[in-house]
């Protein structure tokens, strides 16, 4: 066990993957000497060389497109998108090429590409640096989409994603990069990549979340507990596939569910959760699945982002409402 920040855990996970497999490459803007603007690739170019840790031209479509080509040649590229808001120039390559190549080839082509995206708000940044674009990818068949929320998962999930023969979009909760926790770097006996995890058991209501909002949900659960309400918090970890079994088992028990994410609620990932859970647990639900998320607006200027992001009070408010239904 070592204590690592989430950022450092990712860095160690990447290093381990590169050590284990010489085909693993890192590509992106400023990933070399700088180690990325969040230092996630810090030191890797120094140790693995410029051929394996590649500072690319400033062009996201080019980065993902050439990563696909490298994967076709047998490499396993891990692509860094510098900020969530800059993944959009690459969306065409991700949606029309990366996601569909396997089907196009009737299974003959494998594209083990990982697209890392630091996501979410709360760091006081300017426009385009606080987006939560997960739905654009969860709706795209052929991609696997995961989101880590803590250092231990960051360490294991990045390695599992790199090992995946399918392309993976990997969301990193940027405002949690500096959170610290114990990480067991000795074991590889990890929770499966696509399994959700009950991070706090409870009996009265199920709160579902992923990525940066998980921590807020845990805080809300503690606060609710002080008021005598037993909140179960599930960290989904994987958005596509969704571990619906773990989710429905919980909601079957509690009969109430609140979904929390930073992305805008309208047409967001929470909609899929609500729709699917309702189908599965129709007779068990005491209230509709409620969604707490970003408002259905563009991300606001940072001075008021705390109002946009779901916070403890808004989560508790939704929990309360499920009881008052």
């Amino acid at each position: 066990m070592t204590t690592l920040t989430l950022g450092k855990a990712l860095n160690e996970g990447l290093r381990k993957a590169m050590d284990d497999d010489p085909k693993v490459l890192i590509m992106g803007e400023d990933v070399g000497k700088l180690g990325g603007v969040f230092r996630i690739t810090d030191g890797l170019q120094k140790d693995f060389g410029e051929e394996r840790v590649i500072d690319t031209p400033l062009a996201e479509s080019g980065i993902v497109g050439t990563a696909i080509g490298l994967a076709l040649r047998g490499y396993r590229p891990v692509v860094e998108i510098q900020f969530d808001g800059f993944v959009f120039p690459a969306v065409d390559q991700i949606i029309t090429q990366l996601a569909k190549m396997r089907m196009r080839s009737l299974g003959k082509v494998e594209l083990p590409v990982v697209v890392r995206i630091p996501c979410g708000g709360g760091i006081g940044a300017v426009e385009h640096h606080s987006e939560s674009p997960e739905v654009y990818f969860t709706h795209t068949a052929g991609l696997r989409v995961v989101a880590c929320s803590n250092p231990a998962d960051a360490y294991s999930m990045i390695q599992q994603s790199i090992a995946s023969p399918d392309p993976v979009v990997f969301f990193e909760p940027k405002r949690r990069y500096w959170d610290k926790a114990d990480v067991d770097t000795e074991t590889a006996d990890w929770t499966p990549l696509h399994a959700a995890r009950v991070v706090r058991p409870g009996d009265d209501v199920t709160v579902l979340s992923y990525g940066p909002a998980v921590k807020t949900c845990l805080e809300a659960a503690v606060a609710a507990g002080e008021e005598g309400r037993s909140v179960e918090v599930i960290d989904l970890r994987s958005l596509n596939p969704l571990d619906i079994e773990t989710v429905t088992a919980s909601v079957h028990r509690t009969g109430r569910c609140v979904v929390v994410h930073e992305a805008a609620v309208f047409s967001g990932y929470g909609a899929e959760l609500a729709a699917r859970i309702t189908e599965r647990c129709f007779y068990r639900l005491e209230a509709p699945v409620l969604r707490v998320g970003g408002f259905s607006t563009p991300y606001p200027p940072s001075r008021i982002e705390d109002h946009y992001l779901p916070d403890l009070d808004r989560i508790l408010d939704a929990v309360d409402r499920t009881f008052g239904w």
């Binding site: 080019g62 993902v64 990563a67 080509g69 299974g107 596939p241």
Partner: protein
């Protein structure tokens, strides 16, 4: 003068008969070019002729099959046979091709069964051959995307450390004149030049992007695009199979030996419609097509063979008959192509198990079974 003196007039795609590398005139006359010496035995020329005729015949058959409703659509290569066979026959074992949707001639050179191409346009799959097996990637329909894949693959070749050795390969990316406007294609020029990747950009300038003439994409000759990125650009007579062969060979060899990318503009013409659903009479003049007919890529090789007494009428008849027979077989095989199983929709989406695939597949299977039960 720091300002580049070349201020191309807008809408002027260069001279009508641009300077281009030519080794065989439309009349079948062999000419020499100092940069591109080429020696071909009679056998080799006959083989090229056979290729040209064969792929034209396959193409014709596919068009006919489409008219008869057997294919959903077809993108004809008519007029571009020399560009494709010339460049295709320049390829070596270790090279990797990244085609668009029109490179049936190159596919032929890479031993991809034409039936595979027909399958795609018939709608039984989206391609489905094994790119690694043939050194020929899947057809790519989203304009320009494949140029980045080709560049990345070339960066992989570099990383394999084989450049300059006998097992060195290069990549060749095919694309059209229209594609040169796409961001992806220009990004591929950036990556290829910055990393000095072993790649040949082979642009078939067939003068049209569906209904849009060349001047909607550029105001100077396309081969000069490469200048902006610092690698060589060359314009070759795309209806001259010898020139296409020689120019592509040289560019591929440069790539394999670590000299980086080359841009080749094969100046040719799309003799047919964009695809079988297109109607060129809406946007271009018959006279233009007629003028290009005189530059037919096959006739000039035939003239060369005849003129040099390198082939007799028996040869020409045999080639014709073989092509016809192959087309007949191809047609039969196409008609016999089975439709995919409905449940195959869920296959090949992911390599590893995915619960939603399983769930939807099971539900759909049960749903389909309910009809069978009902009809029993």
């Amino acid at each position: 003068m720091t300002i580049d003196s070349v201020r191309g007039a807008p809408g002027d795609p260069g001279p009508a008969e641009p300077e281009l590398v030519q080794l065989l005139t439309p009349e079948g006359q062999r000419v020499e070019h100092p940069d591109y010496p080429l020696e071909l035995g009679a056998d080799e020329v006959r083989a090229l002729y056979r290729d040209l005729v064969t792929v034209r015949r396959i193409d014709l058959e596919a068009v006919a099959l489409t008219r008869q409703g057997e294919l959903g659509i077809w993108a004809s290569l008519l007029g571009q046979e020399a560009a494709q066979i010339g460049s295709g026959r320049a390829l070596g074992e270790h090279d990797m091709v990244f085609p668009t949707y029109r490179e049936h001639g190159v596919a032929w050179c890479r031993d991809v069964d034409p039936l595979n191409l027909l399958g795609l346009f018939r709608g039984v799959n989206h391609g489905g051959w094994d790119p690694a097996k043939y050194g020929f990637h899947l057809y790519t329909i989203v304009i320009g995307s494949q140029t980045l894949h080709a560049t990345g693959y070339a960066m992989g070749i570099q990383r394999d450390g084989v450049l300059g050795t006998p097992s060195a390969g290069a990549t060749i990316a095919y694309f059209g004149d229209g594609a040169t406007s796409q961001g992806d294609v220009n990004e591929s020029f950036v990556f290829a030049s910055v990393f000095n990747a072993p790649i040949v950009f082979f642009c078939q300038n067939n003068q049209w992007a569906i209904s849009e003439p060349l001047e909607k994409q550029t105001r100077i000759p396309l081969y000069r695009r490469a200048q902006g990125y610092g690698f060589p650009g060359v314009r070759v007579d795309g209806n001259d199979v010898f020139a296409c062969l020689a120019v592509t060979r040289k560019a591929l060899e440069a790539a394999r030996t670590g000299q980086g990318p080359t841009f080749i503009e094969a100046y040719t013409y799309r003799m047919g419609a964009h695809t079988t659903t297109d109607d060129p009479t809406r946007y271009r003049l018959k006279a233009e097509e007629e003028a290009w007919k005189l530059k037919d890529p096959i006739e000039r090789v035939k003239a060369y063979l005849v003129r040099g007494d390198l082939a007799d009428s028996a040869f020409f008849e045999e080639v014709e008959a073989d092509a016809k027979a192959m087309a007949r077989e191809l047609r039969a095989a196409c008609l016999a192509l089975p439709d995919p199983e409905p449940l195959s929709i869920f296959e090949n989406v992911y390599a590893e198990p995915h619960p939603l695939m399983t769930e939807e597949q099971e539900q759909f299977a049960a749903y389909l079974a309910s009809f069978e039960e009902a009809s029993r």
